[in-house]
């Protein structure tokens, strides 16, 4: 199935060059892939994986390993950030 991984702020360094100007990385993954699987597969540092959203909905740390992605899901991840 097709999903999109979005990485922002300092996590942008983990994107391939062609995705750096959009922060969007479309990819094919196997059915049943979870949020935690994608984080592990791309070796995202755990200390930088802070704000995790699927289609804009917050996924708490305890649910990430078990949260399955479905077709066309957008997984967006930020390190600890704030503003205002």
């Amino acid at each position: 199935m097709r999903v999109t991984l979005k990485l922002y702020a300092s996590l942008s360094d983990h994107l391939p060059d062609e995705a750096k100007r959009t922060n969007e990385w479309p990819m094919e993954v196997a059915d049943g892939t979870t949020v935690g699987d994608l984080i592990d597969r791309h070796q995202l540092p755990k200390r930088l994986v802070h704000l995790v959203l699927v289609n804009g909905h917050y996924i708490p740390p305890a649910s990430r390993d078990a949260h399955p992605l479905v077709e066309n899901d957008v997984l967006a991840i930020w390190p600890p950030v704030a503003g205002g």
Binding site: K6, Y8, A9, S10, S12, K20, R21, T22, N23, R47, H50, L51, L53, N55, G56, H57, Y58, P60, V74, A76, W78, P79, P80, V81, A82, G83, G84
Partner: protein, 615 residues
């Protein structure tokens, strides 16, 4: 003590400057800066006064930690009755002016009356005088600061001043110091302008040597700085990406007010985000962002210093804008960009530079342009009236309208009234996205329910800085709450409001609270200030300050009906994103909030609440 215990009272009508002792009884109940200045203002003016009349007063106020070695201890506030709202106005600025005022030996400057001709106030420690400013009238903020420094032959003079918009009565004119730090909201600059007061220039060499327990203060401020350094947000996120990093976050959760709140996601958000500010551009291979910058004593350094693309249409013939200057912050980028559907990063940088150069609030200005563009698309406003074709998305319209507002020309005079008066003038008051006449900042109340209550109940009109529940509802600081529900939000908003009222009265920056709790600030106050500064006392103080501001607004004529949101947010559901189908639940939250506050159904503190808080 950390106060200088001295107030400078300046009567512009009589042209007198007098020193008087700080009311220390009030200082122990209201601390400093926002709380203490509001206490003075509320005690000295009629809440029903015309904000732009000589009978209004305007106060520059430091906190007890301003000018000290506490991290971020450089803040000052400008407190007055605001012309945009008619409510209490309290705008907070960083930079270096606040600390310099303290070094000159003053806790506060209270300005009264109106000068018969333009003046500026010169302060060099105890030497205080009103000087002629006729030659500065008509000058921008940047010109004024440069000229005063030149005249004083001292580059270390700090200047807090208005630009042309403050002189012209733009109702959201700001007071700017250090070129691009601003007491930005609610039109405090228009009040200064109405008094013919162009600037306060201050040079202080007395330092801050009056800390109650210096050894303990050094120890505790060092410990607390370590927390800021080690925290991922204040130690890495804010210095590297600034507030602008929120652009993609807020867009992703579908809380991005877009095109005058018609939409909740902006397709161009990525192009005007922090990430875009870091990218090399095509023209010269350089990024717009060149550095971060700290205010006095700050160990976070979230400020942005940028360089616009010199080949951009806005500046190609204006070299004065090519150098390093204050860069885009999130609220400005949202208001100038998303609120108008404009995704041209350099156009936004140009507009934000003009807001700094001539001293006006980019939030209220940008949101007002959103209303102009909607009225234009409806056919209510025409090219002939506006002076340019102004559909949503037009960068050229945005930059042209910024220029004529800065200069006070043509349709710019109407834009300077703010969205409420502009929309009323053209028969569509429902299109003003504001509360109490002040425009919303950058979070949609349908997708972040707590922010709706924050806006509706903010004592200075719609504002995010009175209770920044985004911390909890979106970022999970200190704990994550669900942004889509109204449940628990009245208590959350009240807690944020009360704590923020204390922080805003200390002389510290509210951004410390991304890493610090109030219990981290308490020992710093305890070491600096004489007397008891327990958590219990601070909790009560925050509530007292909030209710004092509320009482001022009640006396000024504000009632329950003013604690509301525009119909658009209550009847037009979000079209996409997690909040799809939702409207604001403000009507459900208000009664519970009033109950928690100890207010009657009309939103007035009850006699019991007033007595409990010692008001």
């Amino acid at each position: 003590m950390a106060w200088t215990r001295k107030i400078l009272r300046v009567n512009l009508t009589d042209r007198t400057c007098t020193s008087e002792p700080l009311n220390m009884e009030w200082a122990h109940d209201y601390l400093g800066q926002r709380g203490l200045a509001t206490k003075y203002l509320a005690s000295e003016i009629d809440p029903k006064v015309d904000p732009l009349s000589p009978d209004n007063k305007i106060i520059w106020a430091t906190g007890p930690l301003t000018g000290t070695m506490a991290s971020t201890g450089g803040r000052y506030s400008v407190v007055t009755k605001g012309p945009l709202t008619g409510a209490i106005a309290c705008s907070n600025s960083g930079g270096y002016f606040g600390a310099e005022l303290k070094f000159a030996g003053w806790d506060m400057v209270i300005i009264e009356g109106r000068a018969s001709s333009p003046v500026y106030l010169s302060i060099e420690n105890d030497k205080v005088e009103l000087r002629d400013a006729s030659h500065l009238w008509g000058k921008t903020v940047w010109e004024t600061e440069g000229q005063i420094k030149s005249e004083h032959q001292d580059p270390q003079v700090r200047v807090s001043c208005i630009g042309r918009t403050g002189e012209n009565g733009v109702l959201y004119a700001a007071i700017v110091n250090d070129l691009h730090r601003a007491a930005g909201r609610s039109g405090v600059g228009a009040v200064a302008g109405s008094k013919n007061l162009k600037a306060i220039a201050v040079r202080g060499t007395l330092g801050v040597g009056n800390i109650a327990n210096p050894k303990e203060f050094m120890k505790v401020t060092f410990e607390k700085k370590k927390i800021l350094k080690e925290n991922a947000v204040t130690g890495q996120g804010l210095p590297t990406y600034g507030t602008q990093v929120l652009m993609n976050v807020i867009n992703e959760i579908g809380a991005m007010p877009t095109r005058n709140h018609k939409d909740v996601q902006f397709e161009g958000a990525r192009k005007i985000s922090a990430e875009a500010m870091h990218e090399p551009r095509e023209s010269d291979g350089k990024a717009q962002l060149i550095n971060n910058q700290a205010c006095f004593g700050c160990t976070i350094a979230c400020g942005r210093i940028s360089k616009i693309d010199a080949t951009h249409y806005t500046v190609v013939n204006s070299p004065k804008y090519w150098g390093a200057s204050g860069g885009l912050e999130y609220e400005a980028a949202w208001a100038l960009g998303c609120a108008n559907g404009v995704d041209d990063l350099d156009a936004l940088q140009y507009a934000t530079m003009l807001c700094n150069e001539d001293g006006f609030d980019p939030i209220s200005f940008g949101a007002t342009i959103g209303a102009v563009m909607e009225l234009y698309e409806m056919g209510v406003l025409t090219k002939e009236e506006v002076g340019i074709e102004a559909p949503f998305g037009s960068a050229r319209a945005l930059t042209y309208l910024t220029e004529i507002t800065a200069r006070g020309e043509g349709f710019g005079k109407i834009i300077g009234l703010g969205s409420k008066r502009l929309c009323e003038k053209y028969g569509h008051p429902e299109l003003s996205m504001s509360v109490k006449g002040q425009e919303f900042p950058a979070y949609d109340a349908r997708a972040v329910q707590g922010m709706g209550l924050t806006y509706a109940t903010s004592n200075r009109g719609a504002c995010h800085l009175r209770s920044y529940t985004i911390s909890s509802e979106v970022l999970g600081i200190p704990v994550k709450t669900d942004p889509l529900t109204t449940e628990g939000k009245p208590a959350l908003v009240k807690a944020f409001q009360d704590a923020t009222a204390v922080v805003d009265s200390t002389g510290l920056c509210v951004f410390t609270t991304f890493a610090w709790a109030l219990s981290d600030i308490q020992p710093q106050l305890q070491a600096a200030c004489e007397g008891d500064w327990s958590m219990e006392k601070l909790d009560l103080m925050g509530e007292r300050i909030w209710n004092m501001e509320r009482q001022f607004n009640n006396a000024a004529g504000f009632t329950r009906k003013d604690d509301d949101l525009p119909a658009r947010l209550k009847t037009e559901a979000a079209k996409v994103g997690p909040a799809k189908g939702l409207v604001s639940g403000i009507d459900k939250m208000i009664p519970e909030y009033y109950d928690l506050r100890g207010w009657d159904p009309e939103g007035r503190p009850t006699a019991e609440t007033v007595a409990r808080l010692g008001l």
